[in-house]
């Protein structure tokens, strides 16, 4: 199991002995075998990010100096009251908006320095988005929806379909392959949307309130899938105001007025049990 040197900018909670140290992941095979190798570069690195909307008296500081690295194998939840900047953060991380200052590095490319054409290519090839309202194309089946980004990547439609079916199977969604969005439940649509976000070699998934319209059990199933994809090596940011869904993340970042006010890290399940959880 590899150690996880945490980025230096992170505050550590001294009251939790496991907070800064190597994260001893649980006994399950999936977490043990796919623990992220932190010697590698972060998939996403936000550095001293600021975003100011408007000018003069109408100026709004949506983000004020955010530093955040997200590594392969890691799911980071961003929480905060409305207006705290969490959606702005996600929009900038995804290359849909540019910061006023600071750097946004996705897979080694600085989006603030890249040409518009390159940003578009990176956005298409490296980043997957998951929205609250699923955003599947109603006229396409699940398999066709998942194949679409690959076809935009330039692969043949035959290969795209093959990859889509493989992705759906890997995600345990093979029985949905030939269904249209309106023949699926919300939870199923959202799981297909996650498959679409991570098809091919995409490994950064940005999820904006993906559980917004789902009940708690279905929402858990969606988060369990996102979690398992991150355990398998993807990097994810999850914006949510629901503590129960944020709790699936490795780290929870709290934003307030555009600044990170706090951050949690996950400890080992073993220490939890040893202490007697409810005492």
């Amino acid at each position: 199991m590899s150690s996880q040197p945490t980025p230096p900018a992170e505050p550590r909670d001294p009251s939790h002995p496991a907070a800064g140290g190597p994260s001893t992941t649980g006994p399950t095979a999936s977490t043990a075998s796919t623990a992220p190798d932190r010697a590698v570069e972060p998939v996403l690195s936000l550095q001293e990010l600021t975003r100011v909307h408007g000018t003069g008296a109408a100026q709004v500081h949506a983000l004020r100096g955010i530093d955040l690295d997200v590594y392969p194998g890691e799911l980071v939840a961003v929480m905060g009251p409305s207006g705290s900047g969490k959606s702005t953060l996600l929009t900038i991380a995804g290359g849909l908006d540019l910061p006023t200052s600071g750097r946004v590095v996705v897979e080694g490319t600085d989006l603030t320095m890249a040409r518009r054409k390159d940003i578009a290519a990176l956005r298409r090839r490296s980043i997957g988005y998951v929205f609250q309202d699923y955003n599947l194309i109603p006229a396409l089946t699940a398999a066709e929806n998942v194949a679409l980004p690959r076809e935009l990547d330039g692969v043949s439609s035959r290969r795209g379909r093959k990859e889509a079916l493989a992705a759906l199977e890997e995600f345990g969604l093979q029985e949905l392959a030939d269904r249209f969005p309106d023949e699926m439940s919300g939870g199923q649509q959202q799981r297909v949307a996650i498959a679409r976000a991570l098809v091919g070699d995409r490994r950064l998934v940005l999820a904006d309130e993906p559980t917004g319209a789902l009940d708690s059990e279905t929402g858990d199933a969606v988060l369990a899938l996102l979690r398992s994809r991150c355990d398998a090596g993807a990097a994810g940011i999850l914006v949510t105001h629901e503590p129960r869904f944020a709790a699936w993340a490795d780290r929870v970042v709290f934003l307030r007025d555009g600044s990170v006010v706090d951050m949690t890290l996950r400890s080992s399940a073993e220490s939890l049990l040893a202490g007697g959880a409810a005492q």
Binding site: D13, H16, G26, P27, T28, S30, H53, V60, A62, M79, P81, S82, G83, S87, T88, T91, L96, D97, F131, N135, I137, L148, D220, A224, R227, H241, P243, R244, A246, A247, W248, A249, D250, V252, F254, R256, D257, V261, D262, M263, T264, L265, R266, S267, A269, L272, L273, G276, A277, A278, Q279
Partner: protein
């Protein structure tokens, strides 16, 4: 008392010895509320005193067995059919702490709330991780109903829901305090000796300015609207 009834529920399935009761209680609740074997024997002794269990000989290994009596079954039935009493809510340290923090000039209530929120959500992360492991284990054996596994999942969910309720309540408290901040500042101008010559020296006016900005619904709407417009339509 839950240990007492928990043990009765286990004994309803057949005679058991003390250590066995402890093991089964813990496996059913995933060791969430660990029992020591002394507690088990004390509880069983009280159940015996009250006529709810009786000694039932020994097993082959010489363990002293206990069996539930008819009175014990009545007691158990009553426990299952009676809701857990909420008439006297247990004393909640966090509620007391926040109640005391409101209006205390030296206390930054939002900092108290945030410290607790981070702690509570961290606990939820731990519970959720256990839950993920439990769900994964269950998914490896589809179609199998193991009462111990299911009971454990329900217990974890209870911990998650309870922590979630606390986190939501904290969010609610913060929202309300932010909304009331201007009134609070107006009501207690003399509490913090402000230095009118150099407001930048004091943290308090800066903090108030932040608070003033927070509930700006129009700003927020504009911001979110702008974000929505930048999203690609697929």
């Amino acid at each position: 008392m839950s240990i007492r009834h928990g043990l009765l529920a286990l004994l309803e399935r057949g005679p058991r010895y003390g250590y066995q009761l402890r093991t089964e209680f813990e496996s059913r609740t995933g060791s969430t509320w660990p029992l020591n074997v002394g507690q088990v024997y004390t509880t069983v002794a009280r159940l015996e005193r009250d006529g709810l269990v009786v000694p039932a000989g020994e097993d082959e290994a010489g363990h002293a067995l206990y069996a539930i009596t008819e009175d014990g079954r009545d007691e158990l039935r009553q426990w299952f059919t009676t809701p857990v009493d909420r008439a006297n809510p247990p004393r909640n340290e966090l509620a007391i702490k926040l109640a005391m923090a409101v209006g205390s000039p030296e206390v930054d209530v939002r900092a108290v709330i945030q410290a607790q929120r981070a702690h509570t959500i961290r606990a939820m992360q731990d519970y959720t991780r256990l839950k993920g492991q439990a769900l994964e284990a269950a998914s490896r054996r589809p179609g199998v109903f193991d009462p111990d596994d299911v009971a454990w999942q329900l217990v974890i969910d209870q911990l998650i829901f309870q922590a979630e309720a606390e986190a939501r309540w904290l969010d609610h408290c913060e929202t309300r305090l932010v909304r009331l901040a201007p009134q609070a500042a107006a009501a207690a101008p003399a509490v913090v000796p402000a230095d009118p010559t150099d407001p930048a020296e004091s943290a308090e006016p800066a903090e108030s300015a932040d608070r003033g900005q927070q509930p700006g619904a129009a700003q927020d709407g504009g911001l979110r609207g702008a974000i929505r417009r930048t999203r690609p339509r697929r």
